[in-house]
C-alpha cells in the first residue's frame, strides 16, 4: 500500500491496453496468479526484486516463470518491463489497483464474508443480494471461515464493513459497562 501512486500509474497503462484489446479477464488472471506466487513463495519475489542479483539474471528468471505460467504476449511484455524498470516489487499493489479499476469499469466490487462456520450456499446468496442492495453494484463474494468471531458474520465490501459478529458485540458490551462506571 505504500506505493499506490506508482502502482496506479502502471495499472492505468495496463488498463488502457486491456480496454483496446478487451482482454481484462486474462490480465486480471495473470496478475493475480503472479501476486499469489509472490505471497506464496517469497523466494520468487526475492529472485525478481532483490537488487543484489544483476538485472539480466532477474530478467532470465522472469522469462522462465512466464514460460511456465503461459501468459499472453502482452502480459509477458508487461512483466518483463516491470523487471527491467526495477519495479517488480510493486506487482502485488498493481494487481490490487488493476482489479479495482476493472471492477469499477464493470460496476462490480469484491466482497468478503467472514463467518464462524461454513455458510450454506443459499445463505451466502442472500448475503450477496443484501450487499448488492447496499452498494448498488455487483458483488463478487469470497467466503472465509474464522472461528474466533464466535458467531454471526462480518461482511466487507471495499471500505464498508458490516460487523454483526458476536465478538464485536461482546466488545461493545464491555465498552458500555466500562463507560458507565
Amino acid at each position: 500500500m505504500k506505493n499506490t501512486v506508482l502502482a496506479k500509474r502502471y495499472a492505468k497503462a495496463l488498463f488502457a491496453v486491456g480496454k483496446e484489446e478487451g482482454a481484462f479477464e486474462d490480465y486480471t488472471k495473470s496478475l493475480n496468479a503472479m501476486a499469489e506466487l509472490y505471497a506464496g513463495m517469497p523466494e520468487v519475489s526475492d529472485a525478481l526484486t532483490n537488487f543484489l542479483y544483476p538485472v539480466d539474471v532477474r530478467e532470465k528468471v522472469m522469462d522462465h516463470l512466464l514460460q511456465a505460467l503461459k501468459v499472453s504476449q502482452i502480459m509477458g511484455n508487461f512483466f518483463k518491463l516491470l523487471v527491467q524498470k526495477k519495479r517488480a516489487n510493486i506487482l502485488p499493489e498493481i494487481a490490487q489497483v488493476f482489479q479495482a479499476m476493472v471492477d469499477a469499469d464493470k460496476n462490480m466490487c469484491q466482497g468478503t464474508v467472514t463467518s464462524a462456520m461454513e455458510l450454506s450456499p443459499d445463505l451466502s446468496e442472500k448475503v450477496k443480494a443484501t450487499l448488492e442492495k447496499i452498494t448498488g453494484k455487483q458483488v463478487v463474494l469470497t467466503t472465509q471461515v474464522d472461528p474466533s468471531i464466535i458467531g454471526g458474520i462480518v461482511a466487507k465490501v471495499g471500505d464498508l464493513v458490516l460487523d454483526g459478529s458476536i465478538k464485536s458485540q461482546l466488545a461493545g458490551l464491555k465498552e458500555s459497562i466500562k463507560g458507565s462506571e
Binding site: 500500500m1 505504500k2 499506490t4 501512486v5 496506479k8 471495499g158 471500505d159 464498508l160 464493513v161 458490516l162 460487523d163 454483526g164 464485536s168 458485540q169 461493545g172 458490551l173 465498552e175 458500555s176 459497562i177 458507565s180
Partner: protein
C-alpha cells in the same frame, strides 16, 4: 460506604439487558504509518476534512490532510497502542465539543471531555469547533464596555464587549494575572467566561482554577486545559473548542469573555502538526496558514446585531514574547489581527508598577466607544498627563532647577502612576475606578506623599461607601459625572483628604 456485590451484579444485569445489539455498519480504513501523534490512513474514502476518526481502543483522531491515496490524521490521545495495519473507523462527525450553560464551573480538555473528576457533563448541545465567523451584516459596532477591573486597562485601553484585545509581554510579568483578574471582575455581571490554557504546566492550570474557585469565579467560568503533556493536536484545537463554547453564549444573546493563554504556544503546536504532516514550512518554520489560523479564530469574537440577539464574545488572547521582541512573526501577526494590545514591560514590572502596562505602547482601537461617559470624563487627560510626565521625568533626572509648572507636572505624574498600581485578585468596579482617577486627575492627591496612596485609596472606598454611598450608586446609574455629582465628589474628596491627612499626621 459499603458496596454490596449483590447491587453491582444487579446494575450489570440491567446494563446487559439494556444493551442494544445492532449491526455495526462502518466505513473503515487501515493505518499505513503512525508516529509522532500522526497517522496516515488508507481507505476511508468519503472522509471529510476535520472529521473525527475512531482508532482502536476508542481513541479519536482528526482528519487534517485529505490526499489522493491516504488521509493524514492527528491523534487526540495516547498513540501507544496504535500500530500499522489497525482498522480505523469513520464516525461521520466533524470535530465538535459540548457547549452550553452546563459547561460552567467545569474543567475540560481540548476535545471537551471533563478532566475535573466531577462526573459527566450532561451538556444538551454540542457545536462544531470550526465554524465561520459572523459576517459583516450580522455584526454591530462595539459600544458597551467589558470591564477588566484593572484601572490602567479600563481607563486607557478600554475593552468593549465583542472586542479582541491582545495581552502581550515577556514571560513572568503578569499576563495571566491580568486576565484572571478580568475573569474575577465579571462576578455579578452577565458575562460568562472561558479560560483556555494551551501548553501550560498542569500545576499552573490547577493554581488558576483554585484561585478562580477561591474568588467565586468558577461558577460562571469554563476552563479548557490542553497542557504541555497533551498531544500537539489537542493543544491546537483547544483554542477552537473554547471559542465554540463562547460562541454558544454569543449566539444566544448573552455575553462571554474568552481568554487564550496563550496563542504563541498554540502556534507552536500547530507548527509541530504541520511539519509532521509535511506541509511546507515558511517563516520561522511556521506553516503558510498560521496567520489564517489565528485570524479565523479571533474573527469569531464579535458583537452581533440586535436581530441576532445582540450577544457578544470578547477575546483576550495572550502572546508571550521572547525578550520583548514584538517584531517576531507570531506577535506581529496577532497584533495586526486584534483591535489593540496591552503591552506589559519587564522594566516596569521590576520597578514595582504592577500591572506592568506600558501606557505608551498599549492601544485600543475601539477606544472611547467602549467607555461610559464618566470614565471618559476622568480618563480623558490621563494618557496625556502620563505621556508628558514620562517625557519630563527623563529630563528631570539631569538637573534640579525646575520651574513650578514642570514640578507640578512631575508631582501629578508620579501620583497617577502610583494610583494605577493594583494588587492581584482585586479587580475594581467602574465607579471605584472613576472615584480614584477623579481624585488623581483633579489634583486631590498632589499634596500627599506617594507612599501613602495605596492606603488612601483603600480608605477612600470605605469612606464613600459609609458616608456618601450615593456617589457610587449615581455613577452606576447615570454612568456620567454631571455638575451636581461633581460637586458632591469634590466636597467628599476634600473632607476625606483632610481627615486622612490628620490621621496620618500630615499637614
Amino acid at each position: 460506604m459499603q458496596i454490596k456485590a449483590e447491587e453491582i451484579s444487579q446494575i450489570i444485569k440491567g446494563q446487559i439487558k439494556d444493551y442494544e445489539s445492532k449491526i455495526d455498519l462502518s466505513e473503515t480504513g487501515t493505518i499505513i504509518s503512525v508516529g509522532d501523534g500522526i497517522a496516515r490512513v488508507h481507505g476511508v474514502e468519503k472522509c471529510m476534512a476535520m472529521e473525527l476518526l475512531e482508532f482502536p481502543g476508542g481513541i479519536l483522531g482528526i482528519a487534517l490532510n485529505l490526499e489522493e491515496d491516504n488521509v493524514g490524521c492527528a491523534i487526540l490521545g495516547d498513540v501507544k497502542h496504535i500500530k500499522e495495519g489497525d482498522i480505523v473507523k469513520r464516525t461521520g462527525k466533524i470535530a465538535e465539543v459540548p457547549v452550553g450553560p452546563e459547561m460552567e464551573g467545569r474543567v475540560v480538555d481540548g476535545a471537551g471531555f471533563p478532566i475535573d473528576g466531577q462526573g459527566p457533563l450532561n451538556a444538551k448541545n454540542s457545536s462544531k469547533i470550526e465554524v465561520l465567523a459572523p459576517g459583516v451584516i450580522a455584526r454591530k459596532s462595539v459600544h458597551e464596555p467589558c470591564y477588566t477591573g484593572s484601572k490602567a486597562v479600563d481607563a486607557m485601553t478600554p475593552v468593549g464587549r465583542g472586542q479582541r484585545e491582545l495581552i502581550i509581554g515577556d514571560r513572568q510579568i503578569g499576563k495571566t494575572a491580568l486576565c484572571v483578574d478580568a475573569i474575577i471582575a465579571q462576578k455579578n455581571t452577565d458575562v460568562h467566561c472561558i479560560y483556555v490554557a494551551i501548553g501550560q504546566k498542569k500545576s499552573t492550570v490547577a493554581l488558576v482554577v483554585e484561585n478562580l474557585r477561591k474568588h467565586g469565579a468558577m461558577e460562571y467560568t469554563t476552563v479548557v486545559a490542553a497542557c504541555a503533556s497533551d498531544p500537539a493536536a489537542m493543544q491546537y484545537i483547544a483554542a477552537f473548542a473554547g471559542c465554540a463554547m463562547g460562541e454558544y453564549f454569543r449566539d444566544n444573546g448573552q455575553h462571554a469573555l474568552i481568554i487564550y493563554d496563550d496563542l504563541s504556544k498554540q502556534a507552536v503546536s500547530y507548527r509541530e502538526l504541520s511539519l509532521l504532516l509535511r506541509r511546507p514550512p515558511g517563516r520561522e518554520a511556521f506553516p503558510g496558514d498560521i496567520f489564517f489560523n489565528h485570524s479565523r479564530l479571533l474573527e469569531r469574537a464579535a458583537k452581533v446585531n440586535d436581530a441576532l440577539g445582540a450577544g457578544s464574545l470578547t477575546a483576550l488572547p495572550i502572546i508571550e514574547t521572547q525578550a520583548g521582541d514584538v517584531s517576531a512573526f507570531i506577535p506581529t501577526n496577532v497584533i495586526s489581527i486584534t483591535d489593540g494590545q496591552v503591552y506589559l514591560e519587564p522594566n516596569l514590572f521590576f520597578a514595582g508598577v504592577r500591572p506592568a502596562i506600558n501606557v505608551g505602547l498599549s492601544v485600543s482601537r475601539v477606544g472611547g466607544a467602549a467607555q461610559v461617559k464618566a470614565m471618559k470624563q476622568v480618563a480623558g487627560t490621563l494618557r496625556l498627563d502620563l505621556a508628558q510626565y514620562r517625557e519630563l521625568a527623563a529630563f528631570a533626572g539631569f538637573g534640579s532647577d525646575l520651574d513650578a509648572a514642570t514640578q507640578a507636572q512631575l508631582i501629578r505624574g508620579e501620583r497617577l502612576v502610583e494610583i494605577l498600581k493594583q494588587p492581584q485578585y482585586r479587580p475594581l468596579t467602574m465607579e471605584k475606578q472613576v472615584c480614584i482617577l477623579f481624585a488623581g486627575t483633579k489634583g486631590y492627591l498632589d499634596k500627599l506623599p506617594v507612599k501613602v496612596l495605596a492606603e488612601y485609596e483603600a480608605q477612600l472606598y470605605d469612606y464613600i461607601e459609609k458616608n456618601q454611598p450615593t456617589i457610587f450608586s449615581d455613577l452606576r446609574e447615570k454612568q456620567a459625572i454631571d455638575s451636581a455629582l461633581e460637586e458632591k465628589m469634590r466636597s467628599t474628596l476634600q473632607t476625606f483628604g483632610d481627615s486622612f491627612k490628620a490621621s496620618k499626621g500630615l499637614k
